[in-house]
């Protein structure tokens, strides 16, 4: 039984020999990749965009355009889906051999539904960013208010504390304030 040897580590470690003494002598980390790259023989892309339905060869049932009324289209696709189920049931009773077209139409509606839901995701991401930024602004304002209230508290303390310290030399009392 033979075991495969582990590949040696990449030889770049030699470049970092004097990192402790001089951090500038070692090379900078590589810049982030843009575009497509190859990883373990597979091609990947950094530009994640949802492919449109035409690119996948699926007919688009809702009207195209930049601003889609998601609620209206989702509701109408739901109604159409229910109608198609009824049609499939009718076809199975009357003309059972013609089920294939109905089933294809039902799967087309499902693909459109999922595509609509996937195209809602960027909108959700932007809304999440807006929400997080608003929360952050609120927290920073709260921190500013807290900091502003502190000097007043510390001033009162500074006035109260000297009275509590033991007085062992009356002639040195004035050196504090």
């Amino acid at each position: 039984m033979s075991t495969a040897t582990y590949p040696p580590p990449p030889p770049y470690y030699r470049l970092y020999k004097d990192y402790h003494q001089d951090p500038q002598s070692a090379p900078e980390p590589p810049p982030p990749i843009e575009g497509t790259y190859v990883c373990f023989g597979g091609n990947y892309t950094t530009d994640d965009v949802l492919p449109s339905l035409e690119e996948q060869g699926v007919r688009q049932l809702y009207p195209p355009g930049p601003n889609v009324d998601f609620k209206k289209e989702l509701r109408s696709l739901n109604r159409e889906l229910q109608l198609h189920f009824l049609e499939l049931a009718d076809v199975l009773v009357e003309r059972p051999s013609q089920y294939a077209r109905r089933v294809e139409e039902i799967s087309l509606i499902f693909k459109n539904l999922h595509h609509l839901l996937n195209s809602l995701r960027p909108h959700q991401a932007r809304a999440t960013i807006i929400h997080i930024l608003e929360l952050q602004i609120q927290r920073r304002r709260q921190a500013i208010e807290d900091i502003k209230s502190l000097p007043a508290a510390s001033l009162t303390l500074v006035q109260v504390v000297p009275g509590t310290l033991p007085r062992n030399g009356a002639h040195n009392r004035n050196s504090w304030l």
């Binding site: 189920f85 499902f110 809304a127 920073r140 500013i144 500074v158 062992n168 030399g169 050196s175 504090w176």
Partner: protein, 141 residues
């Protein structure tokens, strides 16, 4: 779970209820009578018939009720979508505004923090002086 994932789950649920409905109806349906001349089919074995005979007329009703309920839940989820009007440009504009405001508030916070740290150092120095004076006044035993 966020609402879009819930909607995706609901669509998959509708699909699975649909194919379970059609599949089990097709599997369990009694055969169609083609002509009065043909004899009746032989009865099914006793173990199966009580369940099928009582359940079968009810099955379409139960399963279609489940399908309609799932569709109504999807409608309710669609109604609950918090879609702000304005589209992508309005959202991007709002993000830019919020970022600018965030930067301004962050700088203000930084200034306040520096001023507060300076005051803290002053108070600490005064405190050290006071305690040194106190300790120096103590008579050695």
């Amino acid at each position: 779970m966020d609402i879009i994932s819930q909607m995706q789950e609901q669509v998959n649920t509708i699909a699975s209820i649909a194919f379970n409905t059609f599949g089990s109806l097709q599997r369990d349906a009694p055969p169609v009578r083609l002509s009065q001349n043909y004899p009746d089919p032989p009865p099914l074995p006793a173990t199966n018939s009580p369940e099928d005979a009582s359940n079968f007329p009810e099955q379409p009703k139960i399963m279609s009720a489940a399908l309609v309920k799932a569709a109504k839940q999807f409608d309710a989820l669609v109604a609950a979508l918090p879609l702000a009007e304005g589209g992508e440009e309005a959202q991007l504009k709002r993000i830019a505004e919020l970022q600018a405001e965030n930067d301004a508030v962050g700088q203000e916070l930084q200034r306040q923090l520096e001023a507060a740290e300076k005051e803290l150092k002053q108070v600490q120095e005064l405190f050290h002086e006071a305690t040194d004076n106190c300790l120096n006044l103590k008579k050695p035993d």
